[in-house]
Assembly symmetry: C2
Homo-oligomer: 121 residues x 2
């Protein structure tokens, strides 16, 4: 199946402007039809979902760009891409650990507030 930018925008929950911006930044390069309109494929869909995942886990556009570049070069870059993902996995692991620490400190603070309020309220 192929999708216009409007359809694709609805499917991905990304604004039309954002999709064009991603293309401008070489993250995604949909085909064009005879009238120069963008034609997104199901493969583009899977790819954009992965891009969203990388973004949501804190990878900056510049780095996703680099990944996209390798991807476009094909199988020869599999190693390098896996290395990137492995490194990113580490950073994600660290992020989760830090957030869990923050959570525990926040819980302490909330407990403290609860006691304060019990005494004074």
């Amino acid at each position: 199946m192929e999708y216009s930018i409007g359809e694709f925008s609805r499917m991905t929950n990304l604004g039309i402007h954002t999709l064009r911006y991603y293309e401008h930044e070489n993250l995604i390069t949909p085909k064009r039809n005879s009238s120069n309109r963008r034609c997104y494929s199901d493969k583009d869909l899977a790819w954009i979902e992965f891009i969203k995942r990388l973004k949501d886990t804190g990878m900056p556009i510049k780095e996703i760009q680099r990944y996209a570049e390798l991807r476009a070069k094909g199988d020869l870059t599999l190693n390098e891409r896996m290395e990137m993902l492995t490194l990113h996995r580490e950073s994600l692991n660290e992020q989760i650990k830090v957030l869990q620490e923050h959570m525990s400190k926040l819980d302490d603070k909330i407990d403290f507030y609860r006691q304060e309020i019990e005494q004074k309220g």
Copy 2:
């Protein structure tokens, strides 16, 4: 103990400019000495560490501002502040959950890469 902005900057790992910016945004209001220099206290230190925690867990400056405002009003706002923190706790919990899901998907992808490379390399 009291600290100059330079000392305080080193202690908190926040740039001098950032500290002044935070003051401008009413997040923190250190005392001033007779020559109008800022005098940060240990209480300011504890407070700035908490601000950092809120920031690191994704609370925007605007909302920290609101919290700081309540804090400045004293004990009468304890309830409201606890409510804010409780809500923020929820968001933090959600963040961790989402990141863990991302992690698991990323692991799948990495496994997939590993297999591809085994076959082709």
